[in-house]
């Protein structure tokens, strides 16, 4: 399955050459997805805006380390994820350490678009999403926002593929359970 970013032709090589118009295109493409990801994890508007800006500046400084131009999306989200982790460590260190998941590899069977939500249920969906523990929410957001592959999500979050599969499985299960309880 192609990710959202993979079907686009993004001017990564031009950005690497220092073309400001190329950077503008890249930033326009990713500013809102990155913001959504950061906000849904840290729940702070200003912190999320700071994370987006720091992500862009870091990306500009270290774009040379990006080996595959097609991976620009997951690379940017990886930077943003690290920034979010830094915020988490300040605020919710205990919560992060407490959570444990079984490391069983569960096959993920449904695509992000399989879950369709009615307009009147949108706010409920957002509330339910925020009830998930941060590691599960992080994986689910990456899956929903950019349709990253499991390997890409593992790369972004810095955990093993099995852990990603497990987290995604339990996140969707929890979401469904909460959804059914609501409706």
């Amino acid at each position: 399955m192609l990710g959202v970013a993979e079907i686009e032709q993004l001017p990564v090589s031009q950005a690497r050459a220092g073309d400001s118009a190329a950077w503008d295109t890249l930033f326009r493409r990713y500013q809102r997805p990155l913001y959504v990801y950061a906000f849904e994890l840290v729940h702070d508007e200003q912190a999320s805006l700071d994370i987006v800006q720091e992500t862009f500046i870091n990306a500009a400084r270290h774009l040379g380390s990006l080996r595959e131009d097609a991976k620009i999306g997951s690379w940017l989200f990886g930077i943003a994820h690290q920034k979010c982790l830094q915020r988490w460590r300040k605020r919710e260190r205990e919560e992060m350490l407490r959570e444990e998941f079984p490391q069983t590899a569960v096959e993920f069977e449904t695509a992000p678009d399989d879950l369709l939500i009615r307009e009147e249920q949108e706010s409920e969906f957002m509330k339910l999403l925020n009830q998930l523990p941060p590691p599960q929410r992080s994986v689910l957001l990456l899956h929903f926002i950019e349709e990253f592959s499991l390997e890409e999500i593992a790369g972004i979050t810095g955990v093993s593929l099995g852990t990603v599969k497990s987290r995604l499985h339990y996140a969707k299960k929890s979401l469904r359970r909460l959804w059914e309880a609501q409706t």
Partner: protein
């Protein structure tokens, strides 16, 4: 019906203006960074001031040390050169006693150079004879 992605992106539509400002700031910072990098690019190092900065400023302490060593060497060199004539100038004139002691030596030197004096009988060097060879043995010993 909407996908989760659509819901999430639309939910944060209000942040659009702020995100535009963030993007503008980031682009400005990147542009500043690029211009700062260009200032230190090799093309600009060609100017004398940049060359001086590139060469000397990173190892300022080393260059200062070397300069101090050279300064000490130069001072010692000039001091040594200036002192030699002054030493000669400040030497006291020879005393009459010393001149009197030197006079017989000058006379003796003059006699030797003139060649009037007969050579004294010098002891002849001894002619060295070879010692008896040990191979020549007496017949009694052979018998």
């Amino acid at each position: 019906m909407k996908t989760p992605r659509e819901i999430l992106l639309e939910h944060h539509r209000s942040a659009h203006a702020k995100l535009d400002a963030v993007r503008t700031n980031a682009l400005r910072e990147i542009a500043d960074g690029h211009s700062a990098k260009e200032d230190t690019s090799p093309n600009h190092v060609a100017t004398p001031w940049m060359f001086f900065r590139e060469l000397f400023l990173p190892a300022r302490g080393v260059w200062k040390g070397l300069a101090a060593c050279w300064a000490v060497i130069l001072v010692l060199h000039f001091a040594a050169r200036d002192s030699s004539p002054t030493v000669a100038k400040t030497l006291p004139p020879p005393s009459p006693g010393m001149l009197q002691a030197l006079r017989p030596q000058q006379e003796l030197l003059a006699e030797l150079l003139s060649g009037d004096t007969k050579p004294t009988n010098a002891e002849q060097p001894r002619r060295s004879h070879p010692s008896p060879r040990t191979e020549i043995r007496s017949p009694a010993v052979i018998a």
